[in-house]
Structure formats: structure tokens, C-alpha cells
Amino acid sequence: MAAEKMAVAKAINESLRRALDSDPKVLIMGEDVGKLGGVFRVTDGLQKDFGESRVIDTPLAESGIVGTAIGLALRGYRPVVEIQFDGFVFPAYDQIVTQLAKMHARSLGKVKLPVVVRIPYGGGIGAVEHHSESPEALFAHVAGLKIVSPSNASDAYWMMQQAIQSDDPVIFFEPKRRYWDKAEVNTEAIPGPLHKARVVREGTDLTLAAYGPMVKLCQEAADAAAEEGKSLEVLDLRSVSPLDFDSVQASVEKTRRLVVVHEAPVFFGSGAEIAARITERCFYHLEAPVLRVGGYHAPYPPARLEEEYLPGLDRVLDAVDRALAY
């Protein structure tokens, strides 16, 4: 009975419910998280069951949301705040970067800020401007934050449990275009470590590394490549900070080729850090440079262009072919 098929959004909802249930200090905060249950229904029903004092509709001010969440954390609460869409996190950026990330160190370890910032992110849903971005690199560069992104319902459930239990601030990037993807979730499992990558599919010719919404794409690419006789290993990185370089290294030492895929622009994106570090760690193993597939150096385009902008099957396979051609 503990294992159940659930959509990603529902898995997060269940995980939040469990946290609210088991720890009276857990709070949900954000715009429209109450009666509406969030614009994606991720907090659906929670205010009804836990009341307005635990599930809090906030004024429309992201800096205020994160800033007061910090204050609540200082008082002993464990706020889980929702930023409605990726493109609306920036008003809160100052509080996240200068306060949330640094207060533990500033206090020489005296205070802890167990705050989770949930951000539905990424494109592919045909939305208007600011609703499809992938700003994870803008947070990963900042010490003091942990950045994770689940790719499936089971991880969504468990990683949320672990993020809430973490005494560090966690930016929890939710792959919004996968909200409705269903998978088995065993709510009684014993989860592995939050920041460890997972081999989704084993392979020998090349490693595809991704996180969040792109994991599924990489699996599809591996399927397609398999039909052409290429054996691709697919890694779900799960965590962007810390980044599980050991797992990537282990995979690359085997396959000798790496392609990193993310929706965010390539320039200064996660792929850059992975390429730089893996090249350093695996210099003598790599048969090809680490290739990156991601967004272009341009604002996220209007919906009717997003298919061209976003990494798709063909672009991933193109990069695979280029890497294999070395």
C-alpha cells in the first residue's frame, strides 16, 4: 500500500502533507498557496487541512516572502516557500544571496536556516514570458545554498522530505513540465542521500548527464541511440549544488565521452562547470571534449519558438554524434 502511482505534482503535495503532519514547525508560504492550492495545485488541500496559520497566503512580494521566512526560521520554524514561477524569483534574489545563503556562516554556525524555496522551473508548457526559465546556475554559484531538482515522482517525494529536514537552505527546482508525469512512489522506502546522482540507464559508449526535466529527454535519446547500436549511459544528477562529480567521473572513466544537457542557457550554465571539472578529473580518459546542449544566449523565446530553443531529441542526438565522432 505504501507504493502508489503518482504524478510529480501530487508526490510533492503528499510530501508536503507528510512534513506538515509530522513536524508542527513546518510552514508553507507563498502566493496563492492557500485556497487555490497554488497555480499548479501542488499545495492543493493543505490549507484546508492544516489551517491558515500553517499554510500561508502571502502578500505579493517575493523579497518579503523569503525575508520573513528567514525570520520564521530564526524563530524555529521550517518554512517551505513557493515562488510562483522561475522568472519571479529575482525580487527575492537579494534575500536569498545575501541573507539566506550567508547567515549560517555569518553567525559562525550559531543559527541555522532550514528554509526550502520551491521553484517550478523550465519551459515546454507554452507559457508567456518569465514562466519558462531555468535559473539554477544563478544560485549554484552562491555558496551557502543547496540546489536540487528531481526528475520523477519518487525523487520529488523523497527529495522534498530530505530538503525540509535539511538544516541548510535548499532551492528546490521543480520540473514543471513533468508535473503530470506519473511514476511509482514508495512512501515507506529508505531514500538514498539527497545529493547523490543516480545511474538511470547503464551504457558504455557515452554518458548523458542531466537533471530535472531533461532526464526524461536523455532517456529517450538513449533509447533512440540504442536503436542505432549506441550504448549511452544516462545519469540523473539530481543535485546541482553540491554536484556529484564522483558519479560523473566514474561514468566518464568508463564511457570516455560526456554530453551534458540542460534547458538553461549554455553560456555560464551548469554544463560549463561540469565540463571544466570533469575535464580536469578525467583529462586522460576523455576521447572527446565534454559537449553541452542547452539554451541559447537569448531571452527565453515566445512559446511558438520554444521547441527550437529547448534541447530536443535531435539536438541531443546531434551532440552525441559529434562526441562520438572524435
Partner: protein
Amino acid sequence: MTVESTAARTSRRSASTKSTAGKRTTAKKPPGTEPELVQLLTPEGKRVKNARNSKNAEYESYVADITPDELRGLYRDMVLTRRFDAEATSLQRQGELGLWASLLGQEAAQIGSGRALRDDDYVFPTYREHGVAWCRGVDPTNLLGMFRGVNNGGWDPNGNNFHLYTIVIGSQALHATGYAMGVAKDGADSAVIAYFGDGASSQGDVAESFTFSAVYNAPVVFFCQNNQWAISEPTEKQTRVPLYQRAQGYGFPGVRVDGNDVLACLAVTKWALERARGGEGPTLVEAYTYRMGAHTTSDDPTKYRADEEREAWEAKDPILRLRRYLEDSNHADESFFAELEAESEALGRRVREAVRAMPDPDHFAIFENVYADGHALVDEERAQFAAYQASFADVEGA
């Protein structure tokens, strides 16, 4: 601008909103009963001429001489705007638009304020100011590009002194303030108007725009359409006192006007614009109105608000009351209404056809206008993209 899942419609907004701590808060007053509300045309269509107080009389002076022609013009603007809005909503249902943010119910606030403007004034809208766009002469079909997903802003802001729609809540209040600072520097006597919602009033950017405009005495009018809702949050989640009072604390006047009364909105906005032109600095106008529809086509208001609330506001409909007045005063006859009906239908048709004919953008548009002076990486990526695209063409061509 939100996208919602299609979860079942269940809970209803409970009648009262308690403060988190269970301590006392200010109760929300029933709409339209506030003594401070400036009203010049009642829901029943009666002109309020002998105003209760002298302040009201001052506003009244701005529309005292309004001609029947002008009144019919306001009526026509509201009717056509509503028609356009309805067409857009149905185009969204038909899949021609990805999203639509309806202004239904807010026609008076937008047409009243929009018609108060001079050509040389400048407008900074949110994403819902279709009625103001109409007043500025922006072709309504141009508004639809961003909702169709073919662009992020489909008109030249300087063509009609109407800035692009701004989605990040409150940002444009600062742009308006800066623009107004520039107007003052130029020694021009035009004014600037910034639109935003009740929800937006909570954003730091809006507060900072109050500070900057007051300190620099910038000729800007802040026009807040308090439509009672920010998606699912009632205005009590943003403030515990009427929003127009916010201005006082920054040292400039705030006025609450009946946002469903096109004459009052016209008068109060004219007054505020005149203050700006006269070097008296910023003004906050709170247009007290109601979002009759969903937040956007993705929203489902039955999750969070009661039908009765909407019904109560229906009785205050902005178009209906002006129609009553026009009819009662014989300022418009049957043929006027009939012609307008035909004009409405023509507008709907034109918009429908224009949207359907709207081409998808060229793929290379991704790389266009990222920079004004170019950028090596954009050039490089465009070239790679072209080669990549061409590689498929080759295959397909082969």
C-alpha cells in the same frame, strides 16, 4: 499570468479572513459603501452633480462640460473593448491564444483613465490594460501576439506612447517614475501614468517608485486598479487599510474612485494628470473595481471565491450604468446602439481573422534583438543553429 492544472473544483472561499495570529484585523467593508469613494455616475445611471463634499465637486468640474458626443465616445470605447476582450477569450478557448487576461469589469477604470490622457503622455501598463491600449490607438490585434506566443510584445512603445505589457509585477512603476523624471528634466509638461493592481501594491518596486517620484517630484500618476483579487488572494492579503491611503505616507495625495464609473475615473485621472503637469508631483489613484472573470484563462475562480460576490458587482456594471444615463438623458438613440453593435461585430471579426492569419515567427527570431549592437556569442550560436537546421534540410532534401 498563470497556468493551472485542471484539478477538481472544490473548496470555496470562507466568509472571513482571519489573521495568522488570530488577533484583530480590519474587516473588509462591503464594496461601494466607502465614504471616501469618488463617484459621479451611480450604478443606476444618475449623474452625481451636487456632490456631498467640496472635494467631489472639484473632481466633478473636470467632466462638468462633457458633451453628449464625448459621452457616447466613452460608451463606445467600453463596448468595443469588452467585445475585443470577449473575442480574445474565445480565441483562447479555440486554441488560437495560449492565454488571455480578461479585463471584464474594469472597462470604466481603463477607458476613463485612458481618455484622460493627452497624446504626449506616456503609459506604463501591466498585462491587462487592453482598454487603455485601445484609447492609445494601439491596434488591438497587436496585443494578442504575446498571448498567442509569437512575441513578447508586439507594438512599438513609442508609436503610441504606450509601453509594452510588463508581467513582472510592479516593475513598470519604476520605469514610469524614471520616464517622468526625464519628462521633468526635459521641461516638458506631459505626464506619465503607471498602471498596477492591488496585488502589485505589495511589491518593493512599487514602494520605491513612490519614494523616487515623491523625492524628485516626478509628474507621474499611479493608477491602481483594485479589482479585489490578486489571482486567489483578496485585497486583505495586501493591506489592512484602503490602498489609496498608502500615498499619504510618502507625501502625496491618494484618491479612491469608483472604478466602475467611467466619468469619475476620467475626472479624477484628469485632475491627477493636471497636478503632474503643474509641477505638483505624483498622485495615487485607486480605482475600486472588480475582476469579473478569472485571473486568466488558466485560472478557476470557483476554487477561491463565491459567486455571490461577483453577482453583487454585476449590478455595478460600468457599461450598463452609462447606457442608462445615455438613454435617460436622450444622449443616444436606438440607431447609435445598433450601429455600435454592428461595429462591435466587425471588430470581433477583424480580430479573429487577424489572429488566425498571424504567422509563427521565423526560427531565427530567437537570435534577433538580443542586443542592439550585436554580440559575438549570439552570432556564433545563430550560425551553429543555421548549420544544424540546414543539416535537416539536407536530409529532407535528400
